[in-house]
């Protein structure tokens, strides 16, 4: 019995698919869906520590805020520095108390990095060592940026330290760079707070360094001196924060949009496919039962379907989110319990047609039970219709769920395209011109929606002979 149902279904599926392959738009849609599924499945590999640490500031502090994607370099005339991590430092111990670390950076762009972050990890014994970090420019000029004491935690008589310093982040550094530049500037001198600090630090030491800086390209060096007895550096890293970042840029708080996007694809698919699966099951059971039994059962079920048809989705979603909490599973649940209605109508109408077929009558005459006929004969034939309709519904579900985020009712524990768009809206990304933050997550919604719509319409054209004529 079950084997026959599977065989019926497979045969039907093969037939539908062989015709489906002829539909270009449908194949494009299918391609989009499959790529998205692959991206979504690999989300934990491609983008680890993203979904769970979206609200963790430390996770994102080494990324620039509001940096456009790297490919804007190819669109505009000015080339901006990309994110760069330098892990190797040539380290040398001069005298017994001073350790010198040198990090090289080749600057060949029009705009320098936003900031430079220095990580040092190691051990010391006895007194706290001092750290002095400076920028040594290609013209030999040296700007001392950081001068601080390193504090560690004592374990087994030695102190372990892990220190992070932003070389251009604080007001002290601002003053230092400003002082350096002041002597070259012949025009009016703007206040330190108005200066683009790295642009000045990486500019030619000449008139205009503060007002209209010209980039000084060449080999730069970050020099770090550690002054202290028995100080040992175990690992070190220097991060040059980009003016552009990654494939999709970063948002206003430094989140990598590409990583969030991947999780957006994952949750978009989880939502869409769960709702589709749930509604197809309900609609098949409902529509088939209604069509098979007919009479007053059909009448009653149709009236019930019409009542459900009249229930608006958004108010129910909003009220559940406000009263019970904001969970993606509530959204999936509500949508599943409401969206089957349209599919059930189609299923019933087609079911009535199938019922007329002689083999159903034959089955009845041979004494097959109602549920057996429904399962064995009718459901395998109906599945393509149901899938087509469900595919057309998925974009509606994804758009509605994203809209909930904009209303302030999104699930706070997950990162979706809606999360990113609602953050963009609250942070005023539109009026700050941060187009990548708005455009790319929305394109995700559109792309996935387009994929499902074109695949669904293609299946509909295949299974519905009336539409094929057109």
């Amino acid at each position: 019995m079950l084997r026959k149902a599977i065989r019926d279904f497979t045969r039907n599926f093969v037939r539908v698919f062989s015709e489906f392959r002829g539909q270009t738009a449908g194949m494009v849609g299918l391609g989009i869906i499959i790529s998205m599924v692959i991206v979504a499945l690999l989300a934990p590999t491609f983008a680890p520590d993203t979904n769970s640490k979206w609200d963790n500031v430390n996770r994102w502090m080494d990324l620039p805020n509001g940096a456009p994607p790297f490919w804007v370099n190819y669109l505009s005339g000015t080339e901006k520095a990309r994110q760069h991590v330098e892990e190797s430092a040539d380290s040398r111990k001069s005298q017994s108390v001073i350790t010198t670390l040198n990090y090289n950076y080749q600057y060949d762009k029009d705009l320098p990095p936003r900031d430079v972050v220095l990580y040092l990890e190691g051990q010391y014994e006895g007194n706290q060592p001092d750290m002095i970090a400076s920028l040594i420019r290609p013209d030999g000029k040296k700007i001392q940026l950081v001068n601080q004491t390193i504090k560690g935690e004592k374990t087994d008589g030695v102190f372990d330290f892990r220190t992070r310093a932003t070389l251009f982040g604080g007001s002290q550094q601002r003053t230092k760079v400003h002082r350096f530049a002041q002597e070259f500037e012949e025009g009016n001198v703007p206040s330190p707070s108005k200066m683009d600090i790295t642009k000045t630090a990486f500019a030619k030491a000449q008139d205009g360094i503060l007002n209209n800086a010209e980039p000084l390209n060449g080999d730069y060096r970050i020099e770090v001196l550690l002054v202290g007895q028995n100080t040992k550096v175990e690992s070190t890293e220097v991060i040059f924060k980009g003016r552009v970042y990654g494939l999709m840029g970063t948002d206003g708080s430094g989140h990598d949009i590409a990583r969030g996007w991947i999780w957006g694809a994952r949750y978009g698919l989880i939502l869409g496919l769960s709702v589709a699966a749930g509604t197809v099951i309900i609609a098949l059971i409902f529509g088939m039962t209604s069509a098979y039994y007919g009479g007053w059962v059909d009448e009653l079920m149709q009236r019930l379907n019409e009542i459900v048809m009249g229930i608006p989705t958004l108010p129910i979603l909003v009220i559940i989110a406000v009263t019970l909490g904001q969970r993606i599973w509530f959204v999936i649940g509500v949508m599943t319990l409401l969206y089957w209605r349209g599919i059930a109508k189609t299923i019933r109408a087609r079911g009535l047609q199938i019922r007329q077929n002689t083999y159903v009558e034959a089955g009845e005459a041979l004494g097959a039970s109602g549920s057996r006929i429904i399962r064995g004969h009718m459901i395998p034939q109906m599945l393509p219709y149901a899938f087509a309709e469900a595919a057309l519904m998925i974009p509606v579900a994804i758009i509605a769920a994203a809209g909930l985020h904009v209303l302030g009712l999104g699930d706070p524990n997950i990162v979706t395209w809606g999360t990113m768009l609602s953050e963009a809206n609250s942070a005023g990304a539109t009026i700050r011109g941060m187009w990548w933050w708005v455009l790319l997550p929305g394109l995700g919604i559109t792309l996935l929606g387009f994929g499902f719509i074109s695949a669904g319409m293609a299946v509909e054209r295949v299974v519905n002979p009336k539409m094929k004529q057109e």
């Binding site: 909003v318 539109t430 009026i431 455009l439």
Partner: protein, 353 residues
């Protein structure tokens, strides 16, 4: 009784049942939450009274305990917390049906009223203004473009429309709004990025000012919806163009203009009008969120503010009004279908999804 009247009564009854179910769902959910809120409110009220009254502070701890217990019992009685749950739900549902949503926690209407209904009513006209203007434009535009595409099925416009309709309906309306702000407000600086504040002038100046602020949200809604509308019109019309009587009219030599605008449009009207109305209802949610993006001071923005401030009575009120509009809009679409098409005795529910 004529079949049509019977159908009207039946469908109205059905719509009322739907409304009743929605209200019951809302009231049951609301009840659980308001119960908690009332309990905290009682606790705070009693604590406040003790803190503000020197006489109560003089009492011994046992007397104070007793006073407190009495006071809590009294407040519970007054605020209906002692009633059984089902009764509280029904009371709440009854209040909702009488459009009594109680008072807002923090907001007031321009006239200073804290009644949720007054606050909603002060905002509703602006939503209706934006929404109906957009609807008129995109339905007409959809009709014109759809007819043009149907006349040359498989032509350039037809092909473009099928892709445009598909693409635009997979875009969230409010996202298009954000893109519109980026392009027309940030980049080109043609229109304001926010609808507020509303102009303070009167007369023609006022209307022009409103129109200037409305341009972007209006354009967004129209752009998002007219493609799918035109595509639907095109499909309905191409179906009709294949009917025998159209063929006959053409064969008879009736001018093409007359075939399209006379014969075809007459038969296309019922499905076109109803499907437009249904599409309109489907887009209410998106339009409300679009208000948030443009800061358009309608009920969508009100909903967003109420959610931010956790002002539950307002959320309930706005969502009830939305449900009400939706359910009765659906009813009207259904009845209109039967009314426009003399061949149909039952409404759309039998044939529309």
């Amino acid at each position: 009784m004529p079949a049509r009247l019977k159908y009207l009564i039946f469908r109205t009854f059905q719509a009322l049942v739907t409304l009743g179910i929605v209200i019951l769902i809302m009231s049951s959910l609301f009840n659980g939450m308001s119960q908690q809120q009332l309990q905290t409110r009682i606790k705070n009220t009693v604590r406040g009274r003790i803190q503000n009254s020197p006489e109560l502070q003089q009492l011994s701890s046992e007397e104070l305990q007793e006073w407190r217990a009495n006071e809590i019992a009294d407040l519970r009685q007054r605020w209906g917390l002692n009633e059984p749950v089902w009764k509280r739900i029904f009371t709440n549902a009854w209040d909702t049906m009488r459009l009594d949503f109680g008072q807002s926690f923090m907001m007031t209407s321009p006239t200073g009223s804290r009644q949720v209904m007054d606050i909603i009513m002060s905002r509703l006209p602006r939503t209706i203004l934006l929404f109906t203007t957009a609807a008129v434009i995109y339905v007409l535009l959809g009709l014109i473009v759809g007819l043009k595409a149907a006349q040359v099925a498989g032509g350039k416009l037809d092909k473009f429309l099928s892709i445009f309709g598909m693409t635009s309906s997979s875009m969230p309306m409010w996202w298009l709004g954000m893109l519109a702000i980026l392009l027309f407000a940030f980049k080109l600086n043609w229109f304001p990025s926010t609808a507020m504040p509303f102009p303070q002038t009167t007369g023609l100046d006022y209307y022009l000012g409103v129109l200037y602020r409305m341009a972007l949200p209006l354009g967004t809604i129209v752009f998002n919806l007219f493609g799918a509308r035109a595509w639907a019109t095109r499909n309905i019309v191409t179906d009709i163009l294949q009917e025998d009587y159209i063929m006959a009219a053409r064969a008879k030599g009736v001018p093409e203009r007359k075939v399209i605008y006379g014969h075809t449009l007459r038969s296309a009207a019922p499905p076109v009008v109803t499907s437009a109305l249904l599409a309109l209802l489907m887009s209410i949610g998106g339009a409300m969120i679009t208000e948030v993006i443009f800061n358009w001071p309608g009920i969508g923005l009100l909903l967003r503010i109420a959610i931010m401030q956790n002002d539950v009575p307002i959320v309930m009120g706005v969502m009830f009004i939305t449900s009400f509009i939706y359910i009765f809009g659906y009813l009207v679409a259904d009845l209109l279908y039967g009314l426009l098409d003399p061949r149909v005795e039952v409404g759309t529910s039998g044939r529309m999804r």
